[in-house]
């Protein structure tokens, strides 16, 4: 007889804690080593070596950096608004991490007779059906726009002109690009008919990845990825922390662990955005042989996420930063109209050809 808490079996809670631990440790480690990978990849793209001294080929560099930041002096500017100044890094960091709660990172695995879907906010009911947050995408959209409050608050509470301008830029950029990103997502909902990420991923089985369901969805995929880069302030859209203009932007006045938190938030955001893109457009955890070996599915998911992270770093090594007016022009005059066209085109495609997985049916 199973022990139940609030109508749910006890193992559901154990599995939940285990999933939370695994996912967050994975995200934290990836954040740490993404900084290392970024320095290495950009170094080699500039025909340099990148970090080499700390450990074998600089492998201990993230740990050394973390320790260094930990022991740095904590400075709170005298003119700063102290409470907001202290809270801002947390507001930036937490949404970046908790977006992961709804992202399915693997198929449903069976541990000791219990079905455990590899997604934090999900459980298998008695009949074996997986129940997850049915507004998963909305949750992600809400959190991703929440993260910018940390940046705006940091910029405003620092009471420094560079920080303020950085925060202003972040909010303006966020508003402009969230529109295009949200509209690009509508094309996905038109095909999937649901906001539940579990069902969106299930719908992409058998290489029916949304990115190549039809040309309009592919366009939406590209635009969503670019807009996501802009939303998380990565190059070429890193205007909120443009060194040449704003010293270090919103985090100019921050030091020690509070700076490290912004830094972590930036990389955690990158991982989250890549994971969302993978889930919505690149088939999530789907790949060959996942039915026979369910544990392959998290590996496929991780491989896809890491490829996109590599793409982010590759883009950073390639493109210079946008000018502010060009950035706004790109968002409002180029991406926004194009996404509207994509929605119409996608609708026509679905009504004329259908929303099916034509590529998968070619192989079948």
């Amino acid at each position: 007889m199973e022990y139940e808490i609030l109508g749910l079996p006890a193992w559901y809670y154990i599995a939940m804690v285990a999933k939370v631990l695994v996912v967050f440790v994975w995200v934290l480690l990836t954040v740490a080593y993404a900084t290392y990978a970024e320095r290495k990849i950009i170094g080699h793209m500039q025909v340099r070596l990148g970090p080499m001294r700390t450990g074998w080929h600089g492998l201990l560099q993230p740990i050394a950096d973390g320790l260094k930041l930990f022991f740095k002096e904590e400075i709170i500017p005298a003119e700063a608004s102290t409470f907001a100044f202290l809270v801002a890094p947390l507001i930036a960091l937490v949404p970046a991490f908790i977006s992961f709660a709804v992202i399915p990172f693997g198929t449903t695995i069976t541990v000791m007779g219990c079905k455990i879907p590899l997604q934090i906010a999900a459980y298998a009911d008695k009949s074996g059906g997986v129940i997850d947050v049915n507004v998963g995408v909305l949750y992600i959209l809400a959190l991703s726009s929440l993260g910018v409050y940390g940046i705006v608050l940091a910029g405003w509470s620092s009471n420094s002109k560079y920080s303020l301008l950085g925060g202003l830029r972040a909010s303006a950029q966020m508003i402009s690009y969230e529109l295009a990103a949200g509209l690009a997502l509508i094309t996905v909902f038109m095909v999937s008919g649901t906001l539940s990420l579990q069902q969106i991923v299930a719908d992409q089985a058998g290489f029916g990845w949304y990115a190549w369901r039809n040309p309009f969805l592919f366009g939406a995929f590209i635009i969503f990825f670019i807009c996501s880069l802009a939303e998380i302030n990565r190059t070429p859209f890193d205007l909120p922390e443009a060194e040449t203009e704003l010293v270090s932007g919103f985090c100019t006045e921050y030091s020690s662990m509070k700076y490290a938190m912004f830094f972590m938030a930036e990389y955690a955001n990158m991982i989250t955005v890549c994971a969302i893109t993978v889930t919505l457009f690149l088939g999530g955890w789907h790949g060959p042989f996942t039915d026979a070996f369910p544990l392959l599915s998290p590996l496929y998911f991780i491989a896809k996420v890491y490829s996109l992270i590599f793409l982010c770093m590759w883009i950073r090594a390639t493109y210079p930063r946008y000018r502010y007016d060009q950035l706004m022009g790109l968002g409002w005059k180029f991406f926004l109209p194009i996404t509207l066209v994509l929605i119409v085109g996608n609708g026509l495609w679905i009504s004329v050809i259908g929303a099916g997985n034509w590529l998968g049916s070619l192989f079948a």
Binding site: G43, H44, Q46, V47, R48
Partner: protein, 136 residues
């Protein structure tokens, strides 16, 4: 649309090609740079018997654009030869142009391959004749 995308993709191609090139970084203290045969490092004075070859002709302080060489002449009481009683180089002023080596008529001053000249005190950069002259 293609006109917009193609230069962006070309840029990505170039950075990807660079990713697989051999890095040019020199891991300096462990890996040593290749020093050319005509490298201009720290000065040295060639030795002739018990003292440096310098005859104190003052050509090197004259030609020196950084005015970092100080020479004082003296007469040997035995042989009545002119020699440099003082030959100092302020290495902090020196620009390592090598004009002094070119100007020297008796091949007394030369330049070595030593380039790691960091030191702790300002006074340590004032090289004297004893420090510069080749050891026996």
């Amino acid at each position: 649309m293609f006109n917009v995308a193609s230069p962006l993709i070309n840029g990505l191609k170039i950075t990807l090609q660079h990713l697989f090139k051999k890095p040019v970084t020199l891991q300096y203290p462990t890996e040593r740079p290749i020093i050319g045969p005509r490298f201009r490092g720290l000065h040295a004075l060639n030795r002739f018997h018990d003292r440096s070859k310098c005859v104190a002709c003052y050509l090197c302080p004259t030609v020196c654009p950084a005015k970092c060489i100080t020479v004082e002449a003296a007469e040997d009481p035995v042989t009545h030869e002119k020699y440099a009683s003082r030959y100092d180089i302020d290495i902090l002023r020196c620009i390592f142009c090598g004009y002094c080596v070119e100007a020297c008529p008796v091949d007394a001053v030369k330049m070595t391959e030593t380039f790691e000249l960091a030191n702790y005190k300002r006074e340590d950069f004032a090289y004297t004749q004893e420090m510069l002259t080749d050891k026996k």
